[in-house]
Symmetry: C2
Subunit: 720 residues, 2 copies
């Protein structure tokens, strides 16, 4: 299953889709191929034998009964064999389609039911029948979100001394014109020609192919291969190609079966108008990064005109999806947390790199993807020193992201860092890795970590006329040899017309070696083929179109555009994956029902502790209130549950919210503290209760330590 989930829209601007990975997993494997072939042969044998039987019966001189019976027996055998192959194929497809996708669906349903029932999420504006792609965080969800953001701030902003900013969501057009969003942040859409209902064109084609492959076993192996190929490559389809396939396959509107319009681009930004005149178009920002880029100059000054430094921003971003799917993973409004780390392009070392170099985790480099291998454990320092990860700073952030996610409770066996393939990256990007988390929807991109080179700052410098650059003063003037690439715009304009700008940009972005190779080739051959990423094709560059030279100059300082390394976090996606990774079910004590548990670590848990009087009496209730007061003073979020419900039910209720500890008041002097996952209980004095919970919640001591310090409490009736 492809999972097209890049929430980083600026990347999406420049290369629309990831396809080769998809190709690898969607290409028919040998087993499927042979099964499909066998099925087609068997089908044809069945038909032949069926004809033979009919011929025997209808012959001018009818065959003998034993002869006919024998032929029918053969036919039945063939049918049985065909059915057996069908079953194998079905099983194989289902399996390949997601390692048991039916149980995954059921698991997801159980998680989502619990999440909605306990108000982790609420479909927004539910009493008005909701709006697709908009969700509220209810009380426990809101608390989890706020905990995740606090930890993010601690782990990144505070520990790294980042400069956090907070910019508005409403953004004037000029900014998003410079960034490319106004022109290129689009999806292709088709309309039901009668009702006007809109669909994402690629979704319809994808659904058609998947449906056909999974439900219609009778299709020829060649047809199956073709559909698989379409699935693998459709992310790269142009508007025309998509339209042609939709026509060819006769795809119609899913609900009405009406015919569909040709595909056309739809801009995914929510548009609005700033001020009363109606003359200042604006958009709700599709990412938070632009707010940082436009402030580069001030932030650089704030940092004492020194590199490297990082700026960070947490905030809402908006995307007017054509037809949101994948529930909580693809929404129209979401919280992003983004870091822009500005660094000298000539020195991408990182002072704290050694602190993460020894980490080992699942990585999925480009080469392994291309050669059909799977992700494997690699020591980060090796990946950097072997050049798999482009530079130390990028490596440092990969390591920090790994620590962030696993400390939140993401299962490290279902977390991998996948490198972008060459065709997934923009021409200006050095290297790019996604932290992908596996959940019931497949591997989901939750954090993108990209070395975006100087692209963004250059785009805003050009559009605004304000140079967004850094300076390095030399102690004494230096003689430098500089590569000068001077595209001849007139000639390029004549040759490439509307594409001129993209060709110019690609020429200017060449590295030293590439440029000198081109210089040599132009001198010898007069013309070279040159690949322009943004056009997705080669163009012919002639000698008169570009001057490449090396010049010597005396310089007192170096003025340069910093590179930016951007870790960008989809907070809602991380939280959703965390929910799936934390969820499990266990039988109730009576064994008559399954109880839901979220095994949140205390740092994430929406409530750290519940306080229960074992039975309803005034004394226990007063002690409970006393403990509650101490917990409040200690800053531990908690809840008292004074209802008369059985203690087992009350435990089950808080397990379902992921509350790690419960204090039960069952005497005037001491209470029990229960840990959620082990269900172990210790006995602690009333006075100590709050501070023990505080220590174990804040990580000053472990539960194992508590368990070995205090007397154990075993209660036959207490738990579930």
């Amino acid at each position: 299953m492809t999972n097209y989930v890049d929430f980083d829209p600026s990347r999406r601007l420049l290369v629309r889709r990831r396809s080769q990975l998809a190709l690898q997993s969607l290409t028919m494997d040998a087993v499927e191929q042979s099964l499909r072939k066998a099925l087609a042969e068997k089908q044809s044998a069945v038909e032949t034998q069926g004809n033979a039987v009919r011929a025997l019966k209808a012959a001018a001189t009818p065959a003998s009964k034993p002869e006919i019976d024998a032929a029918i027996a053969t036919l039945n055998n063939l049918k049985l064999e065909k059915s057996s192959i069908e079953k194998q194929l079905q099983a194989h497809i289902t399996d390949a389609g997601g390692d048991g996708s039916f149980s995954k669906e059921a698991f997801r349903q159980a998680v989502v039911n619990t999440l909605e029932r306990r108000l982790f999420y609420i479909p927004s504006f539910k009493i008005y029948r909701g709006v697709a792609g908009l969700y509220d965080y209810g009380p426990p969800g809101c608390s989890v979100k706020s905990n995740v953001l606090s930890f993010w701030r601690q782990h990144f902003v505070l520990e790294e001394n980042m400069l956090e900013v907070d910019c508005p969501c409403v953004t004037p057009e000029v900014v998003l014109k410079a960034s490319g969003h106004v022109d290129k942040f689009t999806d292709l859409m088709v309309k039901d020609e009668k009702t006007g209902t809109c669909y994402r064109a690629d979704h319809l084609l994808k659904d058609f192919c998947n449906e056909k492959l999974q439900k219609d076993l009778s299709i020829a192996p060649e047809k199956a291969a073709e559909l698989k190929h379409v699935l693998a490559t459709l992310d790269d389809f142009s508007s025309e190609e998509l339209g042609a396939k939709i026509k060819e396959y006769g795809i119609t509107a899913p609900d009405t079966k009406n015919s569909l319009s040709d595909p056309y681009p739809f801009n995914l930004m929510f548009q609005t108008s700033i001020g009363p005149s109606g003359l200042s178009p604006g958009y709700m920002r599709p990412e938070t990064a632009q707010g940082i880029f436009v402030n580069f100059k001030d932030l650089y000054y704030y940092n004492g005109n020194k590199l490297p430094f990082a700026a960070a921003q947490i905030g809402q971003a908006f995307r007017n999806e054509i037809s949101p799917r994948q529930g909580l993973l693809r929404v129209r409004e979401f919280t992003l947390a983004e870091i822009e780390h500005f660094v000298d392009p000539d020195d991408k070392s990182h002072p704290k790199y050694s602190e993460v170099a020894n980490l080992e985790f699942l990585m999925f480099p480009r080469d392994e993807q291309m050669s059909g291998q799977s992700a494997k454990k690699i020591v980060l320092g090796d990946a950097v020193s072997r050049g798999i990860v482009n530079n130390e700073t990028l490596g440092y952030f990969i390591g920090r992201v790994y620590l962030f996610l696993t400390r939140l409770g993401i299962d490290k066996e279902r977390l991998r860092f996948r490198q972008h393939l060459a065709n997934e990256m923009a021409h200006y990007a050095c290297d790019c890795w996604d932290a992908e988390i596996e959940c019931s929807y497949g591997w989901i991109e939750c954090v993108g970590i990209a070395d975006r080179s100087a692209y963004d700052l250059r785009a805003h410098s050009e559009k605004s006329g304000v140079p967004l650059v850094a300076h390095e003063k030399f102690s004494e003037p230096k003689e430098v040899e500089k590569l000068v690439i001077a595209p001849v715009k007139k000639e390029l304009g004549l040759a490439f017309k509307g594409n001129q700008k993209m060709v110019v940009e690609s020429l200017e972005a060449m590295g030293e070696k590439e440029a000198l190779d081109m210089k040599a080739a132009l001198e010898s051959k007069g013309e070279v083929d040159f690949y322009v990423c943004t056009l997705g094709k080669n163009v012919a560059i002639k000698k008169n179109m570009v001057a490449i030279s090396k010049e010597k100059k005396k310089e007192h300082q170096r003025v340069f555009t910093p590179s930016v390394i951007e870790p960008s976090f989809g907070i809602g996606r991380i939280i959703y994956c965390l929910f799936e990774h934390s969820f499990y079910m266990r039988p109730s004590k009576a064994g008559d029902e399954q109880l839901n548990v979220f095994r949140f670590p205390p740092i994430v848990a929406p409530i750290k502790c519940t306080v229960f009087p074992l039975v309803q009496n005034q004394q226990y209730e007063e002690i409970s209130k006393l403990i509650s007061k101490s917990l409040t003073a200690a800053g531990i979020s908690h809840k008292i549950d004074m209802t008369g419900t059985s203690i087992g039910k009350r435990y089950a209720r808080t397990d379902e919210l992921g509350v790690p500890f419960a204090i039960t008041v069952d005497s005037a002097t001491s209470v029990t503290i229960r840990e959620r996952d082990s269900k172990h209980q210790v006995r602690v004095s009333v006075e100590e209760a709050a501070s023990v919970v505080k220590d174990v919640t804040e990580g000053h001591r472990t539960w194992a330590d508590v368990w070995s310090t205090f007397p154990h409490h075993s209660s036959a009736s207490a738990d579930e």
Copy 2:
């Protein structure tokens, strides 16, 4: 100066302005009146004497030189006297216009300069020349904001066990139609008839009157009185009245002097479109409250179907101001923190009320405003028991807001709770108090605390068809006598046409006494005058238009719409006022310049501590890094400053950011810790430094305690 600053838009929907308070402060005082009168008399005397002089000179038989000289001397004396009165009047106006508004302006400029220079704020999209009414929080501002929000969450959500939710900003039209924003959330606008530039109509009229009053001393006292009256009442002007005044005074477009269009309403919500069809209008929410109201049913269930409970939300809100003014106080996008406390209308007591009842602070009840007195200190408990504050729950929140603001560092002498006047409140509201903070712009509404009765839940019940109600089950069935008000919609429709709905609502909202009085009056007279708030006038109700009766019923439960008490916080405004209240200047040691200081309490300070090696050497730098590591581990946000700048300059730099403590490394074994405001320093061992700073930052010990525990360090050269 009126300060029209209600950020609570739902209140604004129903009564546009606050006017009587303005009236009181804008009515000419006796001094001004007598000065204006004296000036007019003197002016006329000057004219008469001038004529006399000219007559003497031009007479057929010219007067003697001494005679003429004497007349001229008299004229000059009169001119001097006139000039002296002018000066007095000018001084008086300036003073009344803001207790020395020039020094306030200068103070504000000093604060704002510091805020912008140190990147507390940045005008958004500055490199593109910005957008009026949009500001970024730069690093220290962002940190202050995040500290204020954390404390808000601690003080309200955690301590009160509130249900926090997080809803999207994008909101479908139906929700804001129900709340009234689509129809009524407007300001009156005029357009420059040639250029199309838009202005707020009331602003232009206000500016004209103020300008005339302050700059043109020659206007007659009657004219001055008229302008003052316009200023005092223009908030209640209809579109027609505003247009008439603009015409009468010949007010033109400020920049071009072109003529202006008639005023017309402009909706202040940012409009957008949800999804690709263009058929689903949506808006960026103008407040966060609606997200809570539409979730009432789920939240009530989550709370175990029990009242009272409170829900809370922190988030962005949007307002497409016609022409933003007042810098950081009136912006187009801002952070609100809102609480909706749902309570049984028959029982508005609060269990924790006694914890705040003894607080004493500045309150400004309705009666004091009407009788021209000023705010005075009142014990909260007295205000509630004397019925000045409507109920305990409202009182409780007033007290909690007072504690919140003063703990943040708001000066309690410049904080008052002002009760809304009768004409400021919606017809459904029970009582409403604003926490107003005095800053250079005057008294600014920063928190609104309103008992909104059942209005919002009823509006959404009606529009969505989903009953948003609470239940109280009786232990045994009760016989109840119920007031039934049954408006006869047909008759009302015939009589009031488009206004029918508003009349019906007002009839239904009558209290028992009012309704029974009406019943009696209708029976005796057949017709009564009835004031409809939402129409702002009386209408004649006839006997056939409404049936009022008392009925007896047996009931098993009580079903009712809860009342909601809403404290609503404008976070940006609170922060701006906090900046002004925290700012002061002190001379540098050399006395040659003024140094800026923000006296933030540690809870608010963007950075808690700076670490300085006294001089640049490796040993001191390593110790600084060690201390920095301990501070990070303790969760104390801090900064190392290794620059070679003088220690005095470095102190001054951090004082300007409001950093409360500085650790200076000046030996291998011990360091000094300096407190920002006293500039006192103590000497502490390297090992203890971080924990001392942690304790004093987190309030576990006071600076006085630290000062008395550790040896004092006096440094002749160190500080400024």
